[in-house]
Symmetry: C2
Subunit: 228 residues, 2 copies
């Protein structure tokens, strides 16, 4: 029987419900859609800084993009707003199917890990608050290698730390920018099509696409049972 791949999860939005940030954006910016614009710009600048060879911690980019977005609209973010945004981001609840789907994967014999651009301390607080921290054997932050996803270095960091080759790893994420990086690195990847996310018709494609983590878990279990 061929060994099961080690499963590495993205955290923000993949496991935790990013939409819970919307009311705060609606209050500050007057439009909940600004949450999507902020998150897209956060990833844009994370990738732009990475491709330009500059490392800035993810939290600092997130705060700077928030200020930039407010400045472009002539909106002033005060200290209480900043505190609320930081607090909400650190305590997003898991998406409703996540906890049971993670247990299902574990019961099927998969070993579970995380890899996020968040600092390790932010991630730990998020997963502890969500009550799912114990389901992961180990948590990784791109901060450990100072290269954000989807750079080759971020995925290679996990390979090195776990002492395995790319073909032994599978990323699960709800962001196509993340799955394309993993597939380019030689990993298997599964995309969860959460609200506001979908596949992109160009670039490396994920091997599995599902509507939620439960769906993806079922497909992964079937795929690897068939292979065994």
């Amino acid at each position: 029987m061929s060994a099961l791949p080690l499963i590495v999860f993205d955290v923000n939005e993949t496991l935790l419900d990013l939409q819970t940030m919307e009311p705060t954006f609606e209050r500050i910016f007057g439009d909940k859609q600004d949450m999507r614009l902020w998150f897209a710009n956060l990833i844009l600048y994370s990738a732009a800084l990475t491709v330009a060879g500059c490392y800035v911690p993810f939290t600092d980019i997130g705060a700077a993009v928030m200020k930039m977005l407010a400045d472009t609209q002539g909106i002033k973010i005060n200290d209480a707003d900043k505190q609320e945004l930081k607090e909400k981001f650190s305590t997003m609840p898991p998406c409703r199917e996540v906890s049971a789907a993670l247990r299902k994967l574990r019961d099927a014999g998969f070993r579970l890990f995380t890899l996020t651009d968040n600092l390790l301390e932010v991630q730990t607080r998020q997963l502890e608050h969500g009550g799912i921290v114990d389901l992961f054997e180990r948590r990784f932050s791109a901060d450990g290698v100072k290269h954000h996803k989807p750079s080759r270095q971020a995925y290679a960091y996990v390979e090195r730390e776990l002492g395995v080759g790319p073909s032994q790893l599978c990323l699960i994420a709800c962001h196509t920018w993340d799955t394309l990086g993993a597939v380019a690195a030689g990993w298997e990847a599964a995309l969860i099509k959460r609200v506001g996310n979908d596949i992109l018709g160009v670039g490396p494609q994920p091997q599995i696409v599902g509507g939620d983590l439960n769906d993806v878990a079922d497909q992964l279990i079937a795929r690897h049972k068939r292979r065994a």
Copy 2:
């Protein structure tokens, strides 16, 4: 007298009025704000693919991101919509101060070039349609080196083609992701704060910031006259 830097312009939004795309987005997506979300995701995926080591032409990413955005909202883009979006993007008019400001820079002795992620044929059509193509000595596309901005390779391509060092070049753009890449590459950079754009509080900062190209041109002329 020290030589003047060679000035390299970004094209989309820096020279051409991206806001003219808004009515088409409002018609198709029901919200003109989706233009910003589309453009942010276009740059996000351009940088993500670049950092993951995959090259996809900018036009193809733009079309794929448009479809992705429509899919996330359950909107169907038909062939007429696609044609309209492509046509609008290829024929955006210059921002109103651009033509006179470019002439002012030329009259002050600066040599003008472009560097865009657009394919050369799209760029040429845009600048010809805008009536400003003749103001540039030469036009470059990141397609020539198969690495999109803000990767080091894109800026180095222009250095190589012009046979100059990074310190002899100055980028003018209205996007902070572009100026940070140029500054990281050792270029001088000027940011135009067009509507919807602003500086970012982290990463390499532009040496000049202005409200429009006329403002930036005056600052550049004063800066280099002082240095001479």
